[in-house]
Structure formats: C-alpha cells, structure tokens
C-alpha cells in the first residue's frame, strides 16, 4: 500500500519525513501537497486529519500519524533492516539516538525555528522581521551549539560514530539558518559542528530532498 505524505516539500517538518524515506530507500510513497498559502491546513477536511492544523501527516493504510518526529520513528521501525540504520544497531544505540532527538526537539529547535521564522518566513510572506526575537534566541542557540561543539569533538555524529535520526532531524532548519537566514557563522565558527554539518548536509538523501523542494 502506498504511503501518503500530506505536506509541502519546501516545509521544514515535511523535509524531515522525506529525508527519512529517502535514507530508508522507500520509493512507494506519494506527496499530497497541502497549500499553506491558501490556508488548506486550516480547512475542516484537513483538521479531521490533523486537529492542530499542522503539516505533515502520514497515512499508511488505516494508520494516520502526525507530528514529524513520531512519523519518522514509525517509518524507522516499519522499514527496519532496509536502507540506513537510522536507529543504530543496538538497544544502547537506539537509546542515544532517542536522547539526541529529544535534545534537538527541546534545546535546539525552539531557538532555531524562531530565528528562521523571523529571518526567512516573515520576509517571504511580506511581513517585517522582529530582530528582538532574533537577538533573544541567538544566545540560546549559541549555548546549545557550544555543547554540540564539545560533544562532536569526541563523537563523529550525535549518537555515536553512525549517522542517525538525531542528526537527520537537524537538517531542515539548519539548512535555512545557514543558507537563508544569514546565520552561517553560528556553524562555521565551531570547527567540529562545521565538519558535522558538512557531512550530514552533503548526504545524497538530503540533497535529493532539497531538489524536490525547488520543484
């Protein structure tokens, strides 16, 4: 049965799903485009799928799942054994992947997404950027990145010496921070974070997702 991803290829949280599908060598899926600009995500039909009015949503037969980090966990378990082992190979690996996925969710994403919202999304919608938000969030993100720098000096990737869902989860927002928000110095000023960013962002799966986003 074909998987259906309700979302938009240019949207960060949808990209988390698409990158996972490509890493897992899953080809039997289709994207059901949700036009955010037309407010489709707030329509009564969409709210039946996702009551918070947010993308992405995954449909797999009679299973409907929302929240991108829950969706990618589901995909990793469903397709275990094929493609990149995104949850590692042991119980301990999986626990550390889960830990760094939570770090991304709790300590990285809040500040990163607020900066991206002001520096990238607001201008795209013709709204003014609130620089006070950027000024407040940047030091928080810098503190987190300092921890990452120390950690990545000892570890090639976040959960160990293997690329995992934890690293992948950082791709969409960090891509915008570096390439659209004018915040590349946050990454480039930290040598181990920089090397990690180069390694994960150059992966063919993510490059393919970025190409999809441009169509």
């Amino acid at each position: 049965m074909t998987l259906i991803v309700h979302g938009a290829p240019y949207s960060t949280c949808t990209q988390r799903i698409l990158a996972t599908l490509v890493e897992l060598n899953v080809e039997d899926y289709k994207i059901e485009f949700v036009d955010l600009r037309k407010g489709v995500h707030k329509s009564p039909d969409f709210l039946k799928l996702q009551p918070f009015g947010q993308i992405p949503v995954l449909q797999d037969g009679d299973i409907t799942i929302f929240e991108s980090r829950a969706i990618v966990r589901y995909l990793c378990e469903k397709f275990a054994g094929q493609g990149t082992p995104l949850l590692g190979k042991t119980v301990k690996d999986k626990a550390l992947v889960s830990q760094w996925l939570e770090v991304e969710s709790q300590n990285y994403n809040p500040a990163a997404s607020l900066i991206v919202r002001e520096k990238v999304f607001a201008p795209r919608m013709g709204a003014p950027s609130d620089e006070s938000v950027v000024a407040a969030q940047t030091p928080k993100l810098e503190k987190t990145l300092d921890v990452y720098e120390a950690h990545l000096a000892k570890s090639k990737f976040l959960a160990g010496d293997f690329f995992s869902l934890a690293d992948l989860s950082h791709l969409p927002y960090t891509n915008l921070l570096v390439n659209a928000a004018g915040k590349s110095d946050l990454i480039s000023s930290r040598p181990h974070v920089s090397a990690w960013w180069n390694a994960i962002s150059q992966r063919p799966a993510f490059q393919k997702v970025l190409a999809m986003a441009k169509q």
């Binding site: 799942i65 829950a70 469903k78 626990a95 830990q99 939570e102 709790q106 809040p110």
Partner: protein, 213 residues
C-alpha cells in the same frame, strides 16, 4: 547494579520518570540532585549531562538524559511487565509516540511558561507577569479544545488504553491545576476533566507524589 535515577522531586521531568518506574513495577535507586544549591551545574554533573538538566538515568554502562528518551527506553526495556505503556501493536505505538510529541511540542511549552509565572517565580520571591500568563493560557486553551474533542472519542489520548502519552502529562498538569490553581480550564471541559481525574488517581501517581516535599 540496577536502575539509578539522578533527579529532583521538584522537577516535573524527573517525576515523569519516577511515575513510569512505578507503572512498570521496576525497582530503582533515586540519587537526589540538589537543584536549589546548583548541583546540576557542577563540573561532575555536567560530565553526565552537558546541558545541566535533570533527570539522568544510569543503567549499567548506559547513561541517558532527556526525560522522554528515558521513558521511551524504559518502556521498551520492560515491555511485558507492568502497564503496556506503548500499546500492543505497531499502530498503537505510533499513536502513543504521536501524542507524546503533541505533549512535547504543543502542551508542555505554554504549560511550563504558566507554571513558571504562577508557581516557581513566587517561590523564588519574584513577581508573576500576568500578561505572559494571559497570553500562554490563551495558547493552552486552544490545545485543550483539541484534547477535549479527542477525549470525546477515546478514553485516553492514544486510544482506549492508558499509555506513556497520558503519563507524560501528569507532573506538569499537577503543577498547573493543583499548585497553580488553574484548574478552571479543565473543569470547563468535561471529557478532559474526566481524563485528568482518571489519570491522576492512578496509584503510580499517588505513590510518587506522596514522596514529594
């Protein structure tokens, strides 16, 4: 050597792990971390948890932090004993994970912002910012409306079984409703209120809270 939790009864995130260990009927040792005296910022602690946060789990040679990673690890490790907190099928587990994320992304943010203003700041002798409380309550109420609709269809969040998703709401909601006295927004929503009454009467919750100062 068994399960060791480094945490604090003052931290809702530590309590999440302790309540779960009761549900799973797992013996553990709690090593208290004195937050008030900044024990979570000492060099020794930062070696274990570089963000300076509780709780931390030690299980043999595994040191794990982030409460939702810890609770997920424990639920999988002890699958088959105690309450089946991840459901009984891949579909149920996916829905549990979904509602854990909802709690993490949509519920906890405004809740903790409110709790900081109405519970923690007064305890530190600081003033509550009522504008922030009003703004965050408005956000929380929108989320609670979705919960009310969901709980009209099912007894618990992920379906008709108590799961990790429901459990994750216990410590924070206790702070909001029982300590912060913001329970009116629950009382106004009958299914949400019934759910809260149900989950907060579970022995695991009562036993854990009986140990808090």
């Amino acid at each position: 050597m068994g399960i060791v939790v480094l945490g604090s009864y003052l931290s809702p995130y530590s309590l999440r792990v302790l309540i779960e260990l009761e549900e799973l009927v797992v013996d553990y040792e709690l090593k208290p971390v004195n937050i008030k005296q900044g024990e979570h910022r000492t060099p020794e602690f930062l070696k274990m948890q570089p963000f300076g946060q509780v709780p931390v789990l030690q299980d043999d040679d595994l040191t794990l932090f982030e409460s939702r990673a810890i609770t997920r690890y424990l639920a999988e490790k002890f699958d088959g004993q105690g309450t089946p907190l991840l459901g009984k099928s891949m579909k149920e587990k996916a829905l549990v994970n979904q509602w854990v994320e909802v709690e993490s992304q949509n519920y906890d943010r405004p809740l903790i912002a409110i709790v900081e203003q109405v519970v923690w700041k007064p305890s530190w002798g600081k003033t509550t910012n009522e504008e922030i409380v009003a703004a965050e309550m408005a956000k929380l109420e929108k989320v609670l409306d979705v919960y009310e609709a969901q709980l009209t269809k099912h007894k618990y969040l992920a379906g008709d079984f108590f799961s990790l998703a429901d459990l994750g709401h216990l410590p924070g909601t206790h702070l909001l409703v029982n300590i912060g006295k913001k329970g009116a927004v629950f009382a106004d929503r009958p299914h949400l209120n019934a759910w809260w009454e149900d989950i907060s009467s579970r022995p695991s919750f009562k036993k854990t809270m009986a140990k808090t100062p």
